[in-house]
């Protein structure tokens, strides 16, 4: 090992990143339970919730036209279900951080010459890849939601999904850094995922045809505040922009929030991981 310099450094970092990333992906592929969850969750939401509630969302329900929107309920929640699937998988993938610590594998990585930032980046990229894949599983159901997607839509959507997956996996690592047991993580992650999901204007719309004043008459103010401060609102909104061309907020906001989440959560994860 007398060789040193650029070639070694490059091979070490590229190889190490690849090894850690590939290990995460391989473990996810071999874990049937996770895959089943990734398939059943969108089926449940899209086919049962979506199709079941679809008629009640149209403006002409009960013969009274409330508002007319250019999409169905199924189309409306479809991008949110993608976000939900990514959210679940991303945050769950951080379980592997706890797993590694518990079963000693973390030490094996820590005695390697790789810097901690590279180790963490590999892990998060691996988890994000798996989450992105689970997001794509939902995308397969696009036909059932009557979505016709152009290549451009899909490319834009995938980019946003990848950003979301990266940010949320980082968040998972931050959470995993504070929680020592598997059971604790399961409970805690559900306590984070579901509220974030439900308050991201994912299942009920903040209707675009209403003014701010009208909206606050329909919805209580505290809910409006929670929705507006939930970063997932903007992530879901950005995905809607890509997949159903409808956005409540300015087009730049979604991507900005997604990039912000990725940067902030990764920085937090790195801070925690460097101390571990």
């Amino acid at each position: 090992m007398s060789e040193s310099g650029l070639a070694y450094t490059f091979r070490l970092h590229a190889g190490g990143l690849y090894a850690i990333w590939f290990r995460e992906v391989k473990r996810a592929v071999r874990d049937r339970g996770q895959l089943i969850g990734g398939v059943s969750r969108p089926l449940l939401w899209v086919l049962i919730m979506g199709i079941g509630l679809n008629p009640y969302f149209r403006g002409e329900v009960y013969g009274e036209v409330r508002f007319v929107v250019p999409y169905t309920y199924l189309q409306f929640i479809f991008p949110a279900v993608i976000a939900l699937n990514i959210m679940y998988t991303s945050i769950q993938s951080a379980v592997s951080v706890i797993w590694d610590r518990q079963f000693g594998f973390l030490r094996e990585v820590l005695v390697s010459p790789l810097p901690r930032a590279t180790i963490l980046l590999g892990k998060i990229l691996g988890g994000a890849t798996v989450a992105l894949f689970h997001g794509c599983l939902v995308l397969v159901l696009a036909r059932f939601a009557d979505l016709s997607l152009s290549i451009g839509d899909i490319a834009r959507g995938l980019l946003l999904m990848a950003l979301l997956a990266f940010g949320l996996t980082s968040l998972g690592v931050v959470i995993a850094g504070r929680i020592r047991s598997f059971e604790g993580f399961g409970v805690f992650s559900n306590a984070v995922i579901l509220p974030l999901y439900f308050t991201s204007s994912s299942v009920f719309p903040l209707d675009p045809s209403l003014t701010n004043a009208q909206t606050s008459v329909i919805y209580p103010e505290w809910l409006m505040i929670v929705v507006r401060f939930n970063p997932m609102t903007y992530a879901v909104d950005a995905l809607r922009g890509a997949f159903i061309h409808f956005q409540q907020f300015d087009a730049w906001m979604g991507p900005a929030v997604l990039v912000g989440m990725a940067v902030v959560f990764f920085a937090m994860a790195l801070r925690g991981f460097s101390k571990a």
Binding site: G15, Y18, L114
Partner: protein, 324 residues
């Protein structure tokens, strides 16, 4: 001979417990160096410091001429570590584990595959190459870990209790591999153990207890310097108390056996003259590392592992589970 490892005044404390107290020694290149001590003596703490995953409170550590405290990533290229607790990913195959290790140590592809094949051959696991690690026995897992620690051609190998929890056959095997490795490559081995019989084959033995070095030398010299003849006596019930009074430094094992440190044949003769008719069994043990340990620490190495009370007390001294 040049020193592969130099340790100067290394101290580490956990709360109020001193795990290591100003430990200093050198390990020569191509030496097999044993750290011997009971559980909780500080061996693992020392090994974690040497493998750069734990920082000492004070002192210096030099590995292969490089300061391991200021340049840990440089040192890590030279060292291979087998931790006490298994650290394989058991959802990956044997090959995948080794390949992962090679990749995170920057070993180029062709060389990596060749070395993995060689090392699997050495630890006799070539047939298990593509089996998931979780299907392996604990002895096999240990062998995979040894192969893994050498995948990046490390020149210094740290083994933390490599034989603990293994059956006698697997233990022999591990030591056979260590012997074969040092014969075939430029390798320095530092191994911790609390099995005394295992260190006989090592070049030098460092006896450590309560974070302090008690003795450091070759097994032969240690035996000559500190070794004592031992009388192992199983007395009749009525004589036990009397013997204990006569020989206050005798240790009594839970099974009723008493271990007396003999100063020579005269000692044995006078003991026999007094108690010869009142003992059930007596054996004379020639100087061994066991007796070296006994005379240095005043107890047998297995004692501490055996008594739950002492362990509970030691645990309490560390602050119990509230410190975690």
């Amino acid at each position: 001979m040049t020193a592969a490892i130099q340790i100067g005044g290394v101290s580490k404390r956990y709360g109020r417990t001193i795990a290591l107290d100003a430990v200093s020694f050198d390990v020569a290149a191509q030496e097999v160096f044993a750290l011997l001590g009971p559980n909780g003596a500080g061996k693992t703490t020392l090994l974690h410091i040497l493998s750069t995953i734990l920082r000492p409170d004070s002192g210096t550590v030099t590995i292969g001429g490089v300061d391991a405290l200021t340049h840990p990533t440089r040192s890590r290229r030279d060292i291979g570590v087998v931790f006490q607790e298994p650290s394989l990913d058991d959802r990956l195959t044997v090959f995948e584990n080794l390949n992962f290790h090679g990749l995170v140590h920057g070993v180029p592809g062709a060389l990596r595959r060749r070395r993995i094949a060689e090392l699997l051959d050495l630890v006799e696991l070539t047939d298990w190459r593509d089996k998931l690690v979780r299907t392996l026995s604990s002895g096999m897992k240990r062998r995979v870990e040894i192969a893994r620690a050498l995948t990046h051609d490390s020149r210094i190998l740290f083994l933390d209790e490599p034989t603990v929890g293994l059956d006698a056959q697997s233990r022999d095997r591990i030591w056979r591999y260590i012997a074969r490795l040092r014969a075939t490559r430029d390798l320095t081995v530092v191994v911790t153990t609390h099995y005394i019989e295992e260190v006989e084959a090592c070049d030098r033995v460092c006896i450590i207890d309560h974070g302090k070095i008690l003795a450091l030398d070759s097994p032969a010299t240690l035996k000559a310097t500190y070794g004592q003849q031992l009388l192992r006596v199983v007395p009749h019930a009525d004589a036990a108390a009397e013997i204990a009074m006569d020989y206050p430094d005798a240790t009594i094992r839970p099974d009723g056996e008493m271990v007396l440190q003999s100063s020579g044949d005269v000692f044995a003769e006078s003991f026999l003259a007094r108690y010869g008719s009142r003992i059930r069994r007596l054996s004379v043990e020639e100087p061994s590392l066991e007796s070296v340990f006994l005379s240095l620490t005043g107890r047998e190495i297995r004692d501490q592992a055996a008594t739950g009370r002492e362990r509970t007390l030691a645990f309490g001294r560390q602050g119990g589970e509230h410190t975690r």
